[in-house]
Symmetry: C2
Subunit: 256 residues, 2 copies
């Protein structure tokens, strides 16, 4: 196994930059942390470039490591690993993964989740994980959404980015395409003049738009949708967390 | 309005300690941050002891502040406010609130959410916010749950702690009480031998147990419940986030 023991190593410096979006885009790579995500990436045949292991990681996953016979493994000091991690207690294992080169294609059929300006990384990641669980066809990210290659989104996705297509695309354009294909488009609103989700029929194909944490779905997009939908609030809460709302809606709309 | 301009002020030092659970419990007070939460606390007649405002906060909410005629307001420097905040961009407004003295009483009737060893503050807070939205009777926190007076839980709850009872109580004992009162108790499991939630009838009264992020509900509690329930996973995700699962279940079980 290769070894890096100097904090000044050029590769270490380049990898550290991957914590910043601009550098991820320039290097076309991202960082994932912890055994679970790395195992998911390898199983999904993602282009894992390097797996960095500290003594702690080597000891904890020795059996799995020996099964891999992998020349992408590099031993690093705990100091290096900690400097690359953004966890309070690093897990001893980090990987550098190349971003997929081919843009996923949009089919405009099936069940799609559309995210409009969702800013919290935990919300973006959790909604993608839920979309995966519900067997959605894919996820479309419009303007203003959190970068899916940030460590917080990657952690919340739990590997779901390897399971379903996630496409960046202007939402207004996508909505028009769905409508042309007779796929109903639902926007979510707090407005009680909207239709309660309980009245929506279960659907084999639909596009569901979830919006920004504070402002909701943009007025422009809401003017394009087939139905504005709301989830009734029975108690005193002003609203639901957007990821919770998305989960309730996607499970309700399941066609079986 | 009173003024504090020294970082060495004793009151500032005491308030800073409230970021640590041990000190919150000793002082029987907690910190909330930002206009929205403070407004919720005042509206709910929580015992707001002090509201600290920096120049920024004074300017942003001047109208609201002038309407309050409140001698609990204290002007502090931006430096002091920033030192007390745990946000990257402090909002210029913090409040010290006394913990409620009287323990909420448990009714063992109606709809209850029980949290077993849920450790992530965002998950605990979001589930309490959702329980509020669904109009649950209350929430019971068992062993190992994140402290609801930590700033992260308070932020995720969005004031729902002022809307419904949140009680610390041993869950095994609570489950026995619910059963004695003929209130069905549901535990959540990934096990497909469990009942799919879609088969559960809507209920006026039930207790729903959600478990730890990694381990789920403890085996001991699962052995006591009336039904183990699971949410079908259609895609490749291994599991749902616990707060998403709780949202799907509570909305499904709504009796209307």
């Amino acid at each position: 196994m290769k070894e890096i023991i100097s904090m000044k190593n050029t590769m270490v410096k380049e990898i550290k930059k991957l914590r910043i979006k601009k550098h991820r885009e320039a290097q076309e790579r991202y960082l994932i942390e912890g055994f679970h995500l790395i195992e998911e990436a390898i199983q999904a045949n993602a282009e894992v470039e390097w797996v960095l292991l500290s003594q702690r990681g080597l000891e904890e996953w020795s059996e799995w490591i020996s099964e891999q016979e992998d020349d992408r493994f590099i031993f690093v000091t705990e100091e290096i690993l900690t400097s690359l991690s953004d966890l309070p207690t690093p897990q001893g294992m980090l990987a550098v993964v190349k971003m997929p080169k081919t843009e996923e294609t949009l089919s405009y059929s099936g069940r799609w989740l559309l995210l409009d300006n969702v800013q919290d990384p935990g919300n973006v990641g959790t909604m993608i994980r839920t979309a995966d669980a519900v067997g959605m066809t894919g996820v479309i990210l419009g303007e203003g959404c959190s970068d899916i290659y940030s460590t917080k989104v990657l952690r919340a996705m739990q590997g779901s980015n390897y399971h379903l297509p996630i496409v960046r695309h202007p939402l207004a354009e996508a909505v028009e395409q769905f409508k042309q294909n007779n796929v109903p488009v639902y926007g979510t609103e707090l407005n009680k003049a909207a239709v309660s989700y309980q009245e929506l029929p279960k659907k084999e194909a639909y596009a569901l738009i979830m919006g920004n944490e504070g402002q909701g779905v943009s007025a422009e997009l809401l003017s394009l949708v087939d139905h504005s939908v709301y989830i009734p609030i029975i108690g005193e809460a002003e609203s639901l967390n957007v990821a919770i709302a998305a989960g309730v809606l996607m499970y309700h709309l399941l066609p079986f």
